[in-house]
Amino acid sequence: MMSKIVKTIAGISFPFITIYGLYVIAHGHLTPGGGFQGGAIVASGLILLLVAYGTDWIIEKIKESHLSILESLGALGFIGVAFLGLIFGGMFFTNFIAGTSMLFGGIPTSTAANINTGGTLPLMNFAVGLKVIAGLFAIVLVMAYAISKEEGE
């Protein structure tokens, strides 16, 4: 639990950090960064809230079992897209979306970056980002919760 100044600054800067992290995840196939880097940035924003507002406030909002479910969903999404490549394209990790009219299926026509390209790569970046957000936040949340329980006794 911190002072009111720290709480206010953390509350103001949290949306900007989260939006920037989601931008890094969504543009992972065009610019530097990707699932891991963007996920680490979003988890940094969540940990800023955890340090500023205290563990009890966060643990009312989200439990570590829910974070565990989200992390498993990220891993399942990644391997699921890979197996969809096995079904539709004939090989594991085949980029079956590229070249079709589906979302992210476009082919770049010039040197200008186009977000609607990349095939299965943006989907895999989203899955890795979800897994990294949940995993890194769960580590620090469990550690802070154990410390606050120990102080309470």
């Binding site: 530097p32 960064g33 880097q37 988890a43 940094s44 940990i47 800023l48 580590i139 620090v140 550690m143």
Partner: protein, 83 residues
């Protein structure tokens, strides 16, 4: 010219912040000094043209590691004992 100067200055600052982190008795100040070292290291990665590694270093090294260290210091003693 400026890039060559930065290649000299930033490693010196990295070594200086690491030495400060070792020498200080206040462990919370040591943790902040390690965060500054991580930030300078990510700047060095960036001017070595590895922006991917720089983003990962800034996120994990400067924020997550510092948060874990601060939580650990909160649960134990803040000042290092005299040996």
């Amino acid at each position: 010219m400026i890039i060559e100067l930065l290649h000299i200055i930033i490693p010196i600052l990295i070594v200086a912040t690491s030495l400060v982190a070792v020498l200080l008795r206040d462990l919370m100040a040591s943790a902040i000094s390690l965060a500054a070292m991580s930030l300078l290291l990510s700047l060095e990665f960036y001017i070595l043209q590895a922006p991917d590694v720089a983003i990962a270093e800034a996120g994990v090294g400067a924020c997550l590691t510092t948060a874990i260290l601060v939580l650990a210091i909160k649960a134990t003693a803040r000042m290092e004992e005299e040996s």
